[in-house]
Symmetry: C2
Subunit: 595 residues, 2 copies
């Protein structure tokens, strides 16, 4: 049942696995020194002459170097849907590297290897390792491959920890980080599950203090229990219901000593038994312990200290139904990265698939395309590929408020667009080239995909509730174009915007524009008007109806300073200065708030 590393090598996961025996000593965070470290790894695609097209993929706790099948006869990889010719991580363009992690049991040095000093299995003499130690070993592989700087390091779950740790420890050796279903640390609940898994292994009577390799039996019941438990945390309540609720008393006839009275029971038993055939209990303890101890800080300000001055581009993604790495963790990391002044994008992807979502094709149209857009733009920046010039679908001039907003912006350096949509305005601002920091916020993931394609950093947030993720005074100007009328908590949101930005430019429809006044007065009907006020009273996305005068009065009462204002009649395509609360259908203001 058990596989020593030799067994694993004979029972190869793929013919394409290569082994590198390091000739340098590896010094762990704990001070422990490895003299005889072996790394099992695979590569895909070709390293270009400039050696600037390399992407490192980091695997999760039960993964390995075999990220994707190399050819038709090769075994399936764990991320075949993501990595390959013409796929989201395109092996025709990029040189992809993936290695088994330190402490694992798929070829890289781990507890089931022979300790050359003693001639016996490492077993529980294998030192406690950290995510940082895993990354150190990976960096030796990258050095061996003579790559100075990786285009990107990407991973999910424990792989996300590694990609983040790459940014923390070796910021000069990479351009960018992608974290899927990751965070700055586990929740206490997540750690608690891991502890039960480790207890199940360690208290298995066959554990023998980790020296079970020469026994006929090992702590396999314990490992299977740990795996069953892990498996529940990788799925979501919804996905388990979908899988099992339709016939919950119809278990599969699996050959197992575990309970199989319920459908979900035979499934868990099968998962547990199968895992034991390919995984080493000591590795499980070692890796889950490293996972539980990964901790960048208690809160975003502590975390930010570890992320300051890295000058990397970050893309974080979480999944709504992931309760092992809930979105709150990625949000905390996002907040920390903003404090650290790093360029960060963050998207929460709607998914029923739980933590495993990043391995499944259900939601890959989002996370795959975001990964692709991000990598393509990084590659473009470092000249691996030249993307085609972007041509906006909709002419910037069609939005009459945009030109005034651009005029108000003047030479502002740090600009956030709240409700950025497809990112047209920010792309225009980027082309003009005055700004050195731009960020788009929207809650429409399709729109944000378009914005990310244009190389705009984006946060998939709801501006009514999520601005707390951005710390104070991060921007010179915030833009709120044709959005104010849909905000319910007007004052609260404007105060939040003024907290993160020195100035705010806003455009909104004037509810006191002459034809609107007349419609209510003469017809006794809720006013409508071409443009943002074109909707019926019962189906309008607008919830606030104010005039230019109302807004000026609001600014006066609530102590917002009006720095600049212009008024438009968009139907006549002209500026209005006379009696603007009567003649203009659009107001554009630049305001600020004294602290």
């Amino acid at each position: 049942m058990f596989h020593s590393s030799d067994d694993l090598r004979s029972n190869k996961i793929s013919d394409y696995v290569k082994y590198l025996k390091l000739d340098t000593q590896i010094v762990l965070e704990s001070g422990f020194k490895f003299d005889d470290c072996v790394i099992a790894y695979e590569t895909y695609g070709q390293l270009n002459a400039e050696k600037n097209n390399a992407i490192l993929i980091c695997h999760a706790i039960s993964g390995d170097s075999h990220v994707s099948k190399h050819d038709d006869t090769d075994a399936d990889g764990w991320w075949d849907i993501m990595v390959g010719s013409g796929l989201y991580i395109d092996t025709n363009k990029y040189f992809v590297i993936s290695s088994n992690i330190l402490g694992g049991c798929m070829g890289t040095t781990g507890p089931n290897h022979i300790n050359e000093k003693t001639g016996d299995y490492w077993g529980s003499d294998f030192p406690e390792i950290s995510v940082s130690d895993m990354v150190l070993v990976q960096s030796k592989l990258i050095e061996y491959l003579e790559i100075d700087k990786l285009l990107c390091v990407i991973g999910g779950s424990l792989g996300a920890y590694q990609s983040i740790e790459w940014g923390v420890r070796f910021p000069d050796k990479l351009h960018s980080v992608i974290s899927l279903a990751g965070g700055p640390r586990l929740t206490s609940q997540g750690i608690a599950f891991d502890i039960i898994g480790r207890n199940a292994i360690r208290r298995d009577p066959y554990f023998n203090d980790g020296q079970y390799y020469k026994q006929s039996e090992g702590p396999y019941t314990g490992l299977a229990l740990a795996r069953m438990l892990g498996h529940i945390t990788y799925l979501s309540e919804e996905s388990m219901s979908e899988k099992f609720d339709h016939d919950r008393y119809d278990p599969k006839d699996v050959d197992t000593d575990f309970e199989k009275e319920f459908s979900v029971g035979s499934y868990l038993a099968y998962q547990g038994d199968k895992f034991v055939e390919r995984f080493d209990p000591n590795s499980y303890i070692t890796l889950s312990n490293a996972m539980d101890k990964f901790d960048l800080g208690k809160n975003s300000s502590e975390i930010s200290v570890n992320l300051t001055g890295k000058n990397l581009k970050w893309f974080l993604m979480s999944f709504t139904s992931d309760w092992l790495f809930p979105s709150s963790l990625s949000e905390e990391l996002t907040r920390a990265l903003i404090i650290a002044k790093e360029e960060v994008s963050y998207i929460e992807i709607p998914s029923n698939c739980g933590h495993d979502a990043f391995l499944l094709d259900d939601d890959i149209k989002y996370y795959g395309n975001y990964v692709n857009n991000f990598i393509e733009n990084i590659a473009n920046d470092v000249n691996v590929t030249k993307n085609q010039e972007y041509h906006p679908d909709r002419k910037i001039s069609e939005r009459q408020d945009y030109n005034i907003i651009l005029e108000f912006l003047d030479n502002s350096k740090r600009i956030i667009d709240l409700g950025c949509g497809d990112g047209d305005l920010l792309y225009e601002i980027k082309k003009i080239g005055n700004a050195n920091k731009i960020l788009g916020i929207d809650n429409n993931l399709e729109s944000l995909l378009n914005a990310s394609k244009k190389g705009i950093p984006v946060l998939g947030l709801d501006l009514n509730n999520d601005l707390h993720l951005i710390n104070d005074n991060q921007f010179d100007v915030a833009i709120l174009s044709l959005t104010l009328q849909s905000i319910i908590e007007v004052e609260t949101v404007l105060l939040e915007i003024c907290r993160i930005s020195s100035k705010v430019i806003l455009s909104f429809p004037n509810f006191a524009y002459e034809p609107l006044r007349k419609m209510l007065y003469e017809e006794g009907r809720a006013p409508k008007h071409p443009g943002v006020l074109k909707y019926e009273w019962y189906n309008s996305p607008n919830k606030r109806y104010m005039s230019i005068l109302d807004f000026e009065e609001f600014c006066k009462i609530k102590n917002f300073n009006i720095i600049n204002s212009k008024f438009l009649n968009t139907l006549q395509n002209k500026f209005v200065s006379e009696n603007y609360n009567f003649n203009a259908d659009l107001g554009i203001f630049m305001i600020s708030k004294d602290n």
Copy 2:
């Protein structure tokens, strides 16, 4: 370490535990027959002469008969905060009964008892039991106590299952059911956790097929693992973070063989070790299995078949952070009870405490008071106590639309008030006495507490999103008073209301009332008006601004029939018929929708 039932009796949970040996045979659902069933139980308070003040409390998986301490020298009970003199379940008024469940290990017949036929411990010969079997045994105790009809059966978790099963199996023997953190069945995720717990016990090498009572060691590691796991599911992610995040690497120095490297680790180890001292592994398997198999049906229509014709009053409560019995389960049961035409109240209580919330005092101001209001009203109905006559704080006549609504109601029998607030209007309708079915819906829990005190059945729902819980054609009239202007999806919500009710009476402010027209026309300002339109444009709870004419036009376009309408000038306190879209500030309509 292990306690046989004799040990348990000597190591008594309380001197007040009484034992009843049944002289009748108990026939289980499975056909198995018990000849020698013992019930351990406790009682509190006095049974009155009419024997109509008895309340049965059912305990959760690890509970027992000791629900509350009987006096100062008695041991703490598991629900001391709920049950006692002057408390939410007042033992001065009510006769409270609580018994250990069949299959348990706290005195009632279970696997650790001697099977009188063999003279040996039952062990794994103990039959598989169901929640229905537990309830059957409880019914024998109630018969013995000469109580024909219980005022209420109440419980949380597995206790909720028992209280629900009482309603299903013995509807003539009780007036009402209260379910806290319950549902019609577990989720597949919940079952999965239980399976791992049972596997940990059964695969413990000391389990010995359940016959471990004469061994020096039993499957205590397995039981401890099961308990640790259970414990995580009883807490919430938030409550674990609150407990452990502030110092996650500072474990308590507990004496344990389990891992204790993390704070949460020493806590789990302690909980696991402590549980083993008081609980029997076979009981755990027996009870968790019964819990997993409780299943009233796959969906609300299947479930409703089991609940039809019971003629009981039901009160269900769930807790927002409870992920073992998520609110969706109580909602499904609520929907089924409505289909079954039972009188049901349902409240989702905001809580950070997870499944354990119903045992903790954090949220008792809600769930305790709801329990109290419900029981007091049932008691009033069956004349245990006579509540004081209710005097509304606010005169019904102060709401000028109410009298017209009452007039429109005419002799309607089934009435739902959407946005019922404190229940004043429904209480008035109840007093008038024409209706035989009333229900109030609101999302304000404080208001609903007031409504429940008046004996109004209430659902704590958001009428924008939750009306799907109510099946078609349940009501003759739905009331929507001064609420339409705050609804965003006007058409969708009105169609939903017309699905559940034949007619709808709605009152709303007229945005085309003369002074409002003038304000926009003459001043160029967003109109305001005393009453529901008194707010500023930026802080109004209103999101829709329509005139009476707009609404009439809407009904025409969308094919709603206007059955009746009246128009008020509330400032002048008079009806308006002439030019009402100009002169009235309030419109009241009765509409219907042809199918």
